[in-house]
């Protein structure tokens, strides 16, 4: 057990209760542990198992609540009530759905590549869970604080592409292949602006560790890095493949895309992974731009984290509810011609500001915010002018002569198209 792990309250509390009389724990006022001396290795393993169980079950529970909450919010955005029948306020609806999904018949198409077909759901669920291993949920509440935390997140989330491609290829379904091609194009394109958007954050914090990034946020980085937040948020929405970027599923075009042939709990895993991705994206946005668990003192830090997370989720759902889907070429154009330029502007401006104030204090961060906001607004406006489709100036509701000569003279008004008065 090294020192860094003992700084982590999750590890310390579980490990030291189990093996309290070890030298490291004794110095931290823990009474005698449950296990006899010499079994520190067992305590270590048990603590690891406990933490894994805690985090995974916490996330899955969160997903169940999120599915219910999202459906309720959908309902409200659409003037409906949402699910409210099963359990108090419909909270048991997603539980019932989960049970139903599990008992469904597990179908595998005859043309499918069985091994890959079964592997794909695991491939997509694992990275979505892995992201949570580096996210700090509160003061000292995290699984691991990697010094390359942000890089780890970027690396792990890009694995989704592979899973989608595997699922589509192994299904042996043309619609699924079309969806996977879209997915690859989309995810690879948006990786780049997403990675570049956090460069500003890394520069300001001087570290890739999420703990350090939170520590550096005397002012939430959403205020200091509006452009970075804007690009990151949009790119993250695209990475999640949710509306307005849900090209891979595209209910109205591809039916369900790469999910077409999946049934039962395999489909359930894809579904869970989708919502876990939503949860992890909000967690990352909260950590990078909304100062993570920081808040006022009497309220515990975990509460602040969850409150901010819910706020971000609300905005994501609001986006999803409001916007129609973009076309593939527009999505790619938007990534390469729009977001890419915006990140470049952001990096240059931030670099100049960092050169002026190398170790920004809170006051200097406010100064940076004051400079960055006009830059952000002007550049977003400029990009939208460059990329946007100009509207029709004034639709022409004129009752003037038609542009094409209609045979109006040949058909006298008052008679119906040459019909004879029937039945003389």
């Amino acid at each position: 057990m090294n020192q860094a792990m003992l700084d982590n309250s999750l590890w310390r509390n579980i490990y030291c209760v189990l093996a309290g009389d070890s030298a490291q724990c004794a110095s931290r006022d823990y009474s005698a542990g449950l296990l006899p001396g010499g079994l520190e290795w067992l305590a270590f393993l048990l603590a690891a198992a406990a933490i894994i169980g805690l985090v995974i079950n916490g996330i899955l529970g969160g997903v169940i609540v999120l599915i219910w909450g999202e459906r309720r919010l959908f309902g409200r955005f659409q003037s409906r009530t949402g699910p409210n029948r099963w359990g108090p306020w419909g909270t048991l609806t997603s539980v019932a759905d989960a049970v139903k999904t599990m008992f469904k018949e597990d179908l595998v198409p005859a043309d499918a590549d069985r091994i890959l077909f079964n592997l794909a759901p695991i491939l997509i669920a694992a990275p979505a869970l892995l992201v949570f291993s580096v996210i700090p949920f509160g003061v000292g509440t995290y699984v691991a604080d990697l010094n390359i935390g942000l890089l780890f997140i970027m690396a792990v989330t890009s694995l989704t592409t592979l899973a989608v491609l595997t699922a589509a290829w192994s299904s042996g379904n043309r619609i699924a292949i079309l969806s996977a091609l879209r997915s690859v194009a989309l995810l690879i394109s948006y990786e780049i602006p997403m990675a570049l958007a956090v460069v500003g954050v890394i520069m300001l914090a001087g570290s890739m560790s999420l703990g350090d990034i939170i520590a550096a946020q005397g002012v939430p980085f959403i205020l200091v890095q509006p452009l970075g937040f804007f690009v990151f948020f949009i790119a993250a929405m695209a990475e999640m493949a949710r509306a307005p970027f849900d090209l891979t599923e595209a209910e109205s075009e591809l039916a369900a895309g790469y999910l077409n042939d999946y049934a039962s709990m395999k489909f359930g895993l894809f579904f869970l992974a989708e919502f876990m991705a939503e949860l992890s994206t909000s967690a990352i946005v909260t950590t990078l731009f909304l100062s993570g668990w920081r808040g006022f003192d009497p309220i515990p830090s975990q509460f602040w984290f969850i409150a901010k997370l819910i706020a971000v989720l609300f905005v994501i759902i609001w986006f999803r509810m409001t916007l129609p889907r973009l076309r593939v070429d527009q999505v790619l154009k938007f990534a390469w011609k729009g977001l890419f330029e915006l990140t470049m502007i952001n990096i240059i401006v931030t670099a100049i500001l960092i050169a002026i104030w190398p170790q920004p204090t809170t006051g200097q961060l406010w100064m940076m915010a004051a400079i960055n906001w006009p830059v952000a607004i002007i550049s977003i406006w400029g990009v939208s002018k460059l990329l946007g489709t100009p509207a029709y100036d004034k639709p022409q509701p004129t009752a003037e002569a038609p542009t094409y000569p209609v045979a109006s003279e040949s058909i006298p008004a008052g008679s119906v198209l040459g019909a004879e008065k029937g039945g003389d």
Partner: protein
């Protein structure tokens, strides 16, 4: 560097979430681009025209309800006009006003549904659709007040309507019209200026007016290309010659123009209904049974009557042999004829635009297959 690609044929439908019923397309894609389209339909064929040959003229009204089931009042109106022409029935004025009000309400409902489903095809996850449907529900409530049914109305009878509107209908109609205007305003704020809607629909599936006229396309599709052709204005039926309204035209002839024309026409329909309410006068709603008996026996002959339906010219052609049932009924289904240009609209376009273009035609499979 050109990448060597191979076109792939994909079967879309009949069980596809956005084919507006049971329509099937065999589409050949080169990447995202559409190379070839083969439309296949007939999955909802119920033989309405043949069934009509065994029904009396009044009983056929119930068949017309089920053709275009999102605008059954308009179908009723088209059929009734043909019967009146065939049998030489002089309709009661109050009945005509009532059926004009009913069919204009139905036109609003149909255009709202078309707009909602176009946005659904654009991928808007139901929000605009439900706003449009919410308003359509109010219109259906009005229909329930009028005739006791919401969708398959069968409200019209040869010579008028079967029953006068109840007293509570008129205040409800006034309130409803205000609500409709509010909803259309809301939808326009939400969608007409929406950059995503705009970039998705502008300049896609453009059809020249010459081609539209040659293919005998009618309705909002034609008016979106700038051709001033509205049967309510060109060949007024019922009392449309006593009504003044603006014809909605757009010159772009793309998906956006079709959407825009529909929304503006719904607004105009509200104005038409208001004029109808002003001009309606008391009286009988249908001729007495001495003039128009329950079993109509029109003299041998034929008649064609057409109305401006929500999707285009909706015509009914009836041939009588002097018996109580028509010898032949033919329906000029606007949805079917508007669908004939599907290939021209789709080929060369993107997969993402396929169902948007399809939705912009505003077709109803009940009417296409009959």
């Amino acid at each position: 560097m050109a990448i060597k690609t191979q076109p792939v044929t994909v079967n879309l439908g009949p069980q596809h979430p956005s084919t507006h019923g049971v329509f099937r397309m065999r589409v050949m894609f080169d990447g995202e681009e559409i190379v070839d389209v083969e439309p296949i339909f007939g999955y909802l064929h119920r033989g309405s025209e043949k069934l009509a040959e065994e029904r009396t003229y009044t009983q056929i009204i119930t068949l017309t309800d089920r053709m275009d089931y999102v605008s059954s009042m308009l179908n009723n109106q088209g059929y009734i006009l043909a019967v009146e022409k065939l049998a030489g029935i002089e309709p009661s004025p109050r009945g005509v006003w009532l059926r004009m009000i009913a069919s204009e309400l139905q036109r609003i409902a149909s255009h709202l549904v078309a707009t909602g489903f176009l946005l659904q095809d654009l991928g808007a996850l139901g929000t605009p659709l439900i706003y449009a449907m919410r308003e359509r529900e109010n219109i259906l409530d009005l229909f329930e007040m009028l005739c006791g049914a919401r969708i398959t109305n069968s409200y019209l009878r040869p010579g008028g309507v079967f029953m006068d509107a109840p007293d509570e209908f008129w205040p409800a109609l006034d309130r409803g019209l205000d609500d409709i205007v509010n909803t259309i305003d809301e939808l326009e704020t939400y969608l007409s200026g929406n950059e995503i809607v705009f970039s998705r629909t502008k300049g896609t599936a453009v059809l020249p007016p010459e081609l539209l006229i040659n293919a005998s396309i009618t309705g909002p599709m034609l008016r979106a290309s700038g051709v001033d052709w509205d049967l309510r204005h060109r060949a007024p039926y019922d009392y449309y010659d006593k009504i003044s309204f603006e014809r909605i035209l757009h010159t772009a002839s793309d998906n956006y123009a079709r959407y825009w024309v529909r929304v503006q026409e719904a607004r105009e329909s509200v104005k038409i209904i208001k004029q109808c309410i002003e001009q309606i006068e008391p009286g009988e709603v249908r001729p007495s049974f001495d003039e128009v008996p329950r079993l109509i026996r029109p003299p041998a002959g034929d008649a064609y009557a057409a109305i401006e339906g929500s999707k285009g010219e909706l015509g009914f052609y009836l041939v009588s042999d002097g018996s109580i049932a028509p010898y032949r009924m033919h329906v000029r289904a606007s949805s079917l004829i508007n669908l004939t240009l599907l290939r021209e609209m789709l080929i060369g376009g993107q997969f993402g635009d396929l169902f948007v273009t399809f939705g912009s035609v505003d077709l109803n499979m009940g009417e296409v297959d009959r």
